[in-house]
């Protein structure tokens, strides 16, 4: 009788935690094995190091205070840019959804922000923006259109029936936003945030290279490249990935908690 239903992930609270972890570890092992295979295939320490080397180097780095300061200050910059992008993207989406005129005004602007290569405006940007803020700015510009697109879409897809209900029962602006728009936008917003967090890291670290930011992960990756320290390159890349994944997890958990608390889903 069962023909085709995509399993609902959230619907299986009884699945044992152990099995969950087991599967996750398996997945990790799978990718590590692939890495090792790749390493053995390439056999060039300059291009690719073995997972063992990379983790060894990572542990070494983790022993230094400097490492933590660097990682933390890069994180601070990129998260700031990310948050700014999320806030601005959401506000802009609200504005452009309310007014057709504002939409017409901002839409080309956002298209430009989306498509313009960083190389094109960095020269101009460097006049106003000081070097440590370039990564912030770049992450911001990366996240903004993603959030804007998703939130706008979420607003457009909000159930008109519920909006009519809110109108009849005189919810007013605040209650309509709180009770209808927010919960409707949540899934779109969440998707934008998870995607945006990754992109913010990608772009933010690249911008740290461009702006030669002191004490930055980007700077370290750049140095690793110039000095052909491949183990360092992989170790610092791993740092980027680990922080980004952890932050994403943290953010999702936070959103879930807030969502539950305020009945947003």
């Amino acid at each position: 009788m069962k023909i085709f239903t995509i399993p609902n992930k959230s619907n299986s609270p009884k699945r044992s935690r152990a099995a969950e972890w087991g599967r996750k570890c398996l997945a990790a092992l799978f990718w590590l094995a692939l890495w090792q295979v790749l390493y053995l295939a390439v056999q060039q320490e300059i291009l690719i190091v073995s997972p063992v080397r990379a983790f060894g180097r990572l542990l070494e780095l983790a022993g230094e205070a400097e490492f933590w300061i660097t990682a933390f200050s890069s994180m601070l910059r990129i998260v700031s840019g990310f948050l700014l992008g999320v806030v601005a993207g959401t506000l802009l989406a609200a504005l452009t959804s309310v007014s057709r005129l504002l939409y017409d005004v901002f839409h080309p602007m956002i298209s430009i922000v989306k498509a313009t290569p960083v190389a094109s405006f960095i020269l101009l940007a460097l006049v106003w923006i000081e070097s440590p803020y370039v990564p912030v700015f770049t992450a911001f510009l990366m996240v903004l259109p993603v959030v804007w697109g998703n939130v706008s879409n979420g607003i457009a897809k909000t159930d008109r029936n519920l909006l009519q209900m809110a109108e009849v029962y005189q919810f007013g602006i605040a209650k309509t936003i709180r009770r209808i728009y927010l919960p409707s936008i949540m899934p779109y917003f969440t998707a934008a945030c998870t995607t945006g967090m990754g992109l913010a890291w990608k772009a933010g670290v690249a911008a740290e290279v461009l702006a030669n930011t002191k004490r930055s992960i980007g700077g370290n990756i750049y140095n690793a490249k110039i000095y052909i320290e491949t183990a360092d390159l992989f170790a610092w890349t791993a740092v980027v990935i680990v922080i980004s994944v952890l932050l994403e997890k943290l953010m999702m958990r936070l959103m879930k908690t807030v969502g539950k608390k305020y009945n947003l889903s």
């Binding site: 029936n161 519920l162 009519q164 209900m165 009849v168 029962y169 919810f171």
Partner: protein, 209 residues
């Protein structure tokens, strides 16, 4: 204040649903609308509630009057529970008040369930509780008792009858007995386009008034 519908016209994609409709309704009391499926009852309600704009004509006597509207579908907010769904329409959030209304529709124990955890008839009663809790000077009820068993139905009918006697209650029903029991006035409708084929004033209630 009387509610007057003057030369109301409304069409969807060229097909008229309301066409030069004129209708005068009293300021209070219960008016039952009785008409075939698709004749335009819901459209009329939407226009009265201000959710749809008339193509031409006017609806007079609605200024400053609060409208409570129980939609044909339940239109509950899926992300909050039954009690909150009632509470959300109260001017001052008040859980006890909401609970009182849930009890009135026989759902005192189901306040914590979300709409998806309620049965069809229960959802409908939450929507009814919400409309009654909002109060309002004009109360539009689109088939409020449709999916209810006879016993519950009687209780709900009584509840609606007792409620806000000073308001104008417009009520769609497909049950002739029910109309006779509840209404001060019954409008027999045909359509589309919507027209009133007969008006009836159930005598016993008229004498009361």
């Amino acid at each position: 204040m009387k509610l007057t519908i003057q030369d109301a016209c409304k069409s969807y994609e060229g097909r008229p649903v309301l066409e030069q409709l004129c209708l005068a309704l009293p300021g209070k009391g219960t008016v039952c609308l009785f008409g075939p499926s698709g004749c335009g009852k819901t459209t009329l309600f939407n226009c009265i509630a201000g959710l749809e704009k008339l193509d031409s004509g006017a609806i007079l006597g609605m200024e400053g009057r609060r409208v409570a509207y129980m939609f044909q579908e339940d239109r509950l907010l899926p992300w909050i529970n039954a009690r909150e769904n009632v509470e959300v329409v109260l001017r001052h959030a008040d859980e006890k008040q909401a609970q009182k209304w849930l009890e009135a529709v026989g759902l005192g124990e189901d306040g914590d369930k979300r709409p998806s955890e309620l049965s069809g008839g229960m959802r409908q009663r939450v929507a009814l509780a919400r409309a009654l809790a909002f109060g309002g000077d004009v109360i539009l009820l689109d088939e409020p008792f449709r999916a209810l068993d006879p016993k519950t139905r009687l209780r709900m009918e009584a509840l609606v009858q007792e409620h806000s006697r000073e308001a104008l209650k417009l009520l769609v029903t497909h049950d002739r007995e029910e109309a006779q029991f509840l209404a001060d006035q019954i409008l027999y409708l045909e359509g589309p386009p919507l027209r009133i084929v007969r008006r009836e004033f159930p005598s016993d209630r008229r004498n009361d008034a």
